[in-house]
Symmetry: C2
Subunit: 238 residues, 2 copies
Amino acid sequence: MTQASKTGKARRSWQDIRDEIHRRVLSRRYKPGDKLPRDEDIAEELGCARSTVQRAMQDLNDAGIVERKRKGGTQVRPDPVTRATLDIPITRVEVEARGARYGYQMLASGRETTPAPVAAAFGLAAPEEMLHIEALHLADEAPFILEDRWVSLATCPEIANVDLSVKSANEWLVMHKPYDRMDLRFYAVNASGAMAARLKLREGAALLVIERSTWIGDAPITTVRSVTTPGYQLLTGS
Amino acid sequence: MTQASKTGKARRSWQDIRDEIHRRVLSRRYKPGDKLPRDEDIAEELGCARSTVQRAMQDLNDAGIVERKRKGGTQVRPDPVTRATLDIPITRVEVEARGARYGYQMLASGRETTPAPVAAAFGLAAPEEMLHIEALHLADEAPFILEDRWVSLATCPEIANVDLSVKSANEWLVMHKPYDRMDLRFYAVNASGAMAARLKLREGAALLVIERSTWIGDAPITTVRSVTTPGYQLLTGS
DNA sequence: TAGTGGTCTAGACCACTAA
DNA sequence: TAGTGGTCTAGACCACTAA
């Protein structure tokens, strides 16, 4: 019989341990840059197993609260960062979640040599021929997101046989091409004449741009620049 | 002696198990919406302990790949999402990381009643008197971020005694006010006349805005709208 | 109410790396 | 090279919740 069941007091979970340590960091009992006690000592102090402390610490490490090094021990991160989790759904799902009808229009598609910014996004040594697709995502018939995408034909030769005028490259890739690295960039642009025409809005409007590049190993898969429409917001919960 | 050490083959870690299951999802061996085998069966198949599968599944769950329910089992999320982690450092640290000199200027500060958008960001039932601060963060003497902040005096009465013309409210809050909930919003705006004047740029320029609100329990702490300067990008690695 | 996931524990051994 | 974190395992018991 465990001590907890003897006393009738619920055992503390690793989340409880994590919260307790987090409180100590926030209350400055453990200050930024400070070294924390060893997991084993914290376990003894809080009356739990070392593995429970380890699980709690792993979470605090992932959250950017502490920094852990073998032999070096655990220390409170000297430069606090705010860490947030962003969920970026497939555009179709996003539109449907707003209760709108989703539509998709391929504007252009063909093989082209990567221009400098695209080669740079992928970190390519030399330009390469890739599949270049421009497409529009619609919500209730109105332009929603303008997408400019490059897909590596070396990494994804099968995509040459997919009819991208019906289904977006986004959906095909999500379903068929696993990636293990992703880069995201968010920034604002003034709508160029071409963007304004395609999105049916005035030139110069401030638009949020989401750029995403993915790789499998060192092989580039796709890089896409999604230009959103006015009022578009990226939201985070936590 | 374990089987692994007998054969000389490294035992698989929970990350390996996670990757194996992830591969199965990506290769559509487990399709979106499909129910996965029980942890115990996967453990047996892959030759590891159930707790190792549990750890792997916890990670896949956090990453939005699968959805788990007691008794209901584990299923592949029907709507794949791209989940990314964003680190937002303190502005001073961000400026210094770019190798620039950090500067801070308080533009205005005073008690005011929250206007509708601020009350809405906090989910307040009624307007409230709060501390309102406008400030400018500088990089090498040039405007970098324009900050418009409201701090709840009910939740943070101590801040009334802090000299915010020297140190930013951001830094004081990070060090003294733990929060347990945060909302983030990102969007683009055209610079208004007032913004353009303060940031020394042309009216209408497209600017990335970062809005953040924090709470401790149900009590609002602060809400801040940070207007960045042209060229500013939010980046994610993973 | 039976079945599945959630968590804990103790002990073992491994893998880094500061000293 | 000694010390600290990283991970595994087997078994136990708990906590939800679909059926």
